[in-house]
Symmetry: none
């Protein structure tokens, strides 16, 4: 085994770590005040008391900078231990909703996602910095539920992966849509209702596998959609 030098050399003056932090903080500040489209790197540089070149030395452009600035917001996401799977999910969804309610996330996140539709490197950066950080929580949550005995260990890894992806798209998508498009708060009441539907749907789906679904049962199962009220 040999020691490798990951950085080829450390010649010359090292980069200022303070500058990095100041730039990211200034970026979030500018996002709050100006939003993504009016944010300029020149303005960020001024706010961070830094030269424009210092920013360009670290990030290729505005998109990447914003991704990193927003990603730091998701560092605080933690999987709480509230005793049950449902309560854990509610907790983490509420945290996610709280972050998304912040203007710097609202303004920045969807904008870079929109940009990423035409820039694979950017999408990869978003995936690595933001999405995977969230998806990890879903996996942690499942593992904890399995430890508790609420969930059996997965038998088919591929099917399990598909389910995790589905959960993730549904959870993140619904919260984002409610927050940004419907412009309604994803508050505790909404999260509770949403989590209930999600868990019941997943439980039902695992009971009646995809291949054997009788159309009648589906109709019956959905018999009271939108009816609400007491049974």
């Amino acid at each position: 085994m040999q020691s490798r030098t990951p950085v080829p050399r450390a010649s010359g003056r090292p980069r200022s770590a303070a500058a990095d932090a100041a730039i990211l903080a200034a970026t979030r500040e500018a996002l709050v005040e100006l939003g993504w489209s009016k944010l300029t790197l020149g303005d960020v540089a001024t706010r961070a008391a830094v030269a424009k070149t210092t920013i360009y030395r670290r990030w290729p452009g505005k998109n990447e900078l914003v991704v990193d600035a927003v990603a730091e917001l998701f560092d605080e996401l933690r999987l709480p231990d509230r005793g049950t799977l449902a309560a854990d999910i509610e907790g983490v969804v509420l945290q996610f909703a709280a972050i998304l309610a912040r203007p710097e996330a609202k303004s920045g996140l969807m904008a870079v996602v929109a940009e990423s539709t035409r820039d694979d490197a950017l999408r990869e950066r978003i995936r690595a910095s933001i999405v995977d950080r969230q998806k990890r929580l879903v996996l942690e949550g499942r593992a904890r539920a399995q430890t508790r005995g609420e969930l059996p260990p997965e038998s088919d890894p591929e099917e399990a992966s598909r389910t995790v992806d589905l959960i993730f798209d549904v959870v993140a998508g619904a919260v984002v849509h409610r927050t940004l498009v419907s412009a309604e708060p994803a508050d505790e009441e909404w999260v509770r209702g949403f989590t209930r539907v999600l868990l019941l749907g997943l439980a039902g789906a695992s009971d009646t596998p995809n291949s054997a679904e009788p159309a009648g049962s589906r109709a019956a199962g959905a018999a009271r959609v939108g009816a609400g009220g007491t049974p």
Copy 2:
């Protein structure tokens, strides 16, 4: 009694209807080729063989123009009659996914949503032009299911409205998230699985109303999340 012209006068040369159509088509073309952030109104004007002022006379800016250009894509959304509620939903979700898969929608939609977080007028325009057009389908679908007898008539209008909103956020959010963030196709298989979870969840939720949720049953109900396979 006679009907009067609602427009008080038609003085001067009337606006060209052909220009409107050409501008919107050129906008979509530019969205496909350039994406939202590189789209310029000057370029759109050139493509539409129109002067820049002709665009600015009709739309306040890029955002509003893109909203209208993208909104036309959703004109083709129709609620199919496939016989059952589940099949109807699958059909309409697939249509929605197909539209969202088109590059002009991908590039434009999320960008204007991002902008709308800082511009209430823009959000209202999106709601009126795009969102309500989709939400109408959910209401139509529910009415048809009630006609068929798959769903009972709603008793509590407020609760029903909340449910429609939830459905809408979950459906639209999940499709958008899968398409744009996960960058996976929302194909027939995925839509089938998603619809099943959604309907089962809604059915279960209406069986066990919010106020009477036993934590134990929730955990049990979700007993096989991610486990897949047959019972």
Copy 3:
């Protein structure tokens, strides 16, 4: 014999004479307020309560309109009869200076002269509308002085024409330069001094013809230039 209509027909609605006057007045008003470079035909149309097309039907462009609007100012130039040639000249120069002191003339005149350096038709229009109107006064003045006996009848028409041109360039040029470039008023005192130099120069020049100028006498003649005071 019958009266003939020189214009082949007067078919359709005749042009409004009031519009012409309103347009020229509005042009002068706009010249005062905005100056030549900020004057727009759209603005003139608005001030004259007239459509832009009505202006373009009568004038080819801004330059020609301004020439006509400014030319009207020179209509009021009259050769006064003050008894002597010198007094007559002082009077007409003062009138010329008074017109040139008005902002609509200041702003407009030099601008169209500048334009005319690249537009022969425009220069011809200026000559016909403005310059000849002034030059006529010089000829009138000479004729009157000849009637009075102050000047002999010209013997050499060509030489006389050259002299008139020289007088005209010197008078108009000096007044314009003092007013516009030096930005000093061409008031009575200045006009008196200028006229004296001019007349003495011309008188001396006709005494000592061009071909026989002794350098010595010239130097002697100019012996006190700039010295002022009494001998």
Copy 4:
């Protein structure tokens, strides 16, 4: 003790001196080809292979740029030493006429003078860059003539200053008017005639001071105006 640099610091990249020269040259080139009113800063920028902002960083607008571009033309004005005052004046007037005959001067000079009627800062710039440069020659010429003994030293400085101003307005005005308005060349013959009138007029004026002018002598002095011919 040592002299220190008066400029406190030279932070940032210094301005390119080559750009300045290229812009002024391109401006003159564009003036020749297009004239003042069709000259655009974008076009100048293209000709100078320079960005528009580089022009705006140095000059507030088109007028100021043209003033500086035209002013450089007058750098070549020199007071020649031809032995006598009259010959010196003829020489410098001919130089002035030659510069004014160039299309870049014709087009530009009167246009900025016209603009300056509404812009005091611009007039001041013209005075400093162009007019004073010319007026200096008049002063030099007088000093040289005094050295030669052609002129006595001035006794009344105020009167002398007035005379210089008058000379300047007459000379510059007459040349400009002949060149631009009359559109005739201010060639050697014309300059000789003009100079003779000017010097004789000035000499006569200093002989018969303003306060003591008998009207009769004025009329007599001008007895042959326009008559020409030999005595």
